[in-house]
């Protein structure tokens, strides 16, 4: 849309290869269809369940038991996503951007071939190309994985309640899904090969795991599934999972209605003809290395989003990179995308917002003696009356002593962590120091005043 503003003739190719179970979706990419949007809505559904429980302590009286209907929630979520898909179609059309629901691949210099779902092929040429093909969930490569397991691609539109679920993985996707499924009242177990939330501050990752465990999510640590079999067909059916210890030879088995795989995502860069135009990718990971102007090794081909090597996999990052890139190309702008101090939030039952360095990364980069960590547990006022945990919420900042105690890492574990973190991220972008933070008077009574 940005390029069309500058009167460029633009063609968008968006095509979703159906999941092994046949699932597909509309225009908008992962975030809109099978990521952030449905995830946050379902996380909210789970939070509301908790709120209903708290409500009684605040004086609301209702006698019936409160139950959750998966289909009602899923239909509403999918309806909303449908309106987003439609909105994008209208927006592209209004800006005269041509859209084709077709699979694109390079066949030669400056040329792509598109194939739609009916198999009809077309050829297009262009002056420049932008690759933003994103990623898809990885499968385990064990017997029964593609036939019986689902991934996040299937979860948000599952036409039946998943029931007793085994979530395989310890990524934020795994924990967020496990979190809201448990919040909706389902029996959830998470099978983890080693650590939780690799790449995130481990001190916080462990607190998140503890909180989830105390609130009904079961964890099986240091095991990996080796086989999935179907015991009974159905929606959902019954699956038997056999797992082996990651550290020895112990074998265990379990039965679940649904097995959700969330062990990582792989870039969609292998089958789009990049070799035909000479674009180098990291053979091992499939990621695309780019310079700080998002340009690949082929000058007229650019890339943004999750497929980039060594860059954060977040929707707003991709959007920002894309907009700035187009402005640089067609409007004479010079700003490059700033990948430093990008705030993020993990929407586990107890939300985690972060910006900047984790404690481990800060120690590694600056040395333990050069950083100072300030931290605090706190008890949100809203949790006091319903007697919810009084020592779980937590905030910490990491400061660089050598640079005026500049705040280089911000971490908060609390309700609405995303909302809290956004403001602090802006402050960190301005180079906030500990002293400035101390001099900022807090809003009371809110979690953020800590």
């Amino acid at each position: 849309q940005e390029a069309a503003k500058y009167e460029k003739k633009v063609l968008v190719l968006d095509f979703v290869k159906p999941t092994p179970l046949g699932n597909s979706w509309g225009l908008g990419g992962t975030c809109v269809n099978v990521g952030c949007i449905p995830k946050k809505l379902m996380h909210q559904a789970a939070l509301l369940g908790q709120a209903l429980q708290d409500a009684r302590k605040f004086g609301w009286q209702f006698t019936e038991e409160v139950n959750h209907n998966w289909m009602t929630m899923t239909e509403s979520v999918q309806n909303y996503i449908g309106s987003l898909n439609w909105g994008y179609r209208v927006a592209l059309r209004e800006k005269s951007v041509t859209y084709e629901n077709a699979y694109g691949e390079f066949v030669g210099p400056h040329t792509v071939k598109t194939t739609n779902k009916r198999g009809v092929e077309k050829l297009y040429t262009a002056e420049r190309f932008l690759i933003a093909t994103g990623e898809r969930p990885r499968y385990l490569g064990i017997p029964g994985d593609k036939e019986y397991c689902i991934s996040s691609d299937d979860l948000f539109s599952l036409p039946y309640c998943p029931g007793k679920t085994l979530v395989v993985g310890a990524s934020y996707v795994a924990l967020e899904c496990a979190g809201f499924l448990a919040g909706l009242g389902l029996d959830v177990t998470v099978m983890v090969r080693s650590i939780l939330l690799r790449g995130f501050d481990q001190d916080i990752a462990n607190k998140i795991g503890e909180y989830m465990e105390e609130h009904g999510v079961k964890f099986i640590r240091e095991f990996v599934p080796i086989k999935v079999e179907q015991i009974e067909e159905g929606t959902p059916g019954i699956l038997k999972v056999t797992a082996k210890s990651a550290k020895g030879n112990k074998i265990m088995e379990g039965e679940y209605n649904t097995v959700l795989l969330a062990i990582g995502r792989d870039s969609c860069t292998r089958n789009i003809g990049l070799d035909k135009v000479g674009v180098k990718i990291n053979e091992k990971t499939g990621k695309v290395p780019v310079n700080d102007e998002e340009q690949t090794n082929v000058p007229y081909i650019y890339a943004i989003g999750d497929i980039l090597q060594d860059k954060l996999e977040l929707t707003p990052v991709a959007i920002q990179a894309g907009r700035l890139l187009v402005r640089r190309l067609y409007a004479g702008a010079t700003s490059k995308c700033d990948y430093v101090n990008v705030p993020t939030t993990v929407f586990t039952p107890l939300e985690y917002g972060a910006c900047g360095y984790s404690e481990e990364a800060a120690v590694e980069k600056f040395g333990e003696e050069n950083i100072e960590v300030y931290h605090s547990h706190f008890w949100p006022l809203e949790w006091t009356v319903p007697s919810r945990d009084n020592n779980k919420c937590y905030a910490k900042i990491i400061c660089n002593i050598q640079d005026n105690e500049r705040v280089i890492g911000f971490h908060v574990l609390s309700p609405n962590a995303g909302e809290v973190t956004q403001g602090f991220a802006a402050a960190m972008k301005c180079g906030m120091t500990k002293e400035q933070l101390d001099n900022t008077i807090g809003i009371h009574p809110v979690c953020a005043e800590v």
Partner: protein, 122 residues
């Protein structure tokens, strides 16, 4: 087989008609009432109607096009009218594909390309 048109007035007649065609693709255009000379009080509706009519042949076979007059201006302005409350309409004209989140509102309705897209979208 082509398509057919039904003209209705008011919310209950609209719902009854839409339900009677359950199973077929239903497109609906909501406009303000017309006076004795056939002119609507809603200027955008006046502009949109011919544009929409010109694109009707793009609807899939077997479609039903419901042309619905919502009422007079006063009724429409009431924030609690049934169209706003139940169908979540926010303005007239509105052209929508019944039972889906796909719709066009106000000035979107007189852009032929958008209308065509609504009628032909999968």
């Amino acid at each position: 087989m082509g398509w057919e048109e039904k003209q209705v007035r008011g919310y209950s007649e609209f719902v009854r008609t839409a339900q009677s065609y359950h199973g077929r693709p239903i497109f609906a255009l909501f406009c303000g009432d017309k006076d004795a000379e056939g002119r609507s009080w809603c200027p955008d509706c006046v502009t949109a109607e011919p544009v929409v009519r010109k694109e009707l042949h793009n609807m899939p076979d077997g479609s039903v096009f419901i042309y619905c007059l919502v009422g007079d201006r006063a009724y429409w302005k009431d924030p609690n009218n049934e169209f706003r409350k139940n169908l979540k309409l926010t303005g007239v004209p509105t052209l929508l594909k019944y039972g889906t989140p796909q719709k066009l509102v106000e000035e979107e309705c007189y852009k032929a390309e958008l209308v065509r897209m609504l009628f032909t979208e999968d």
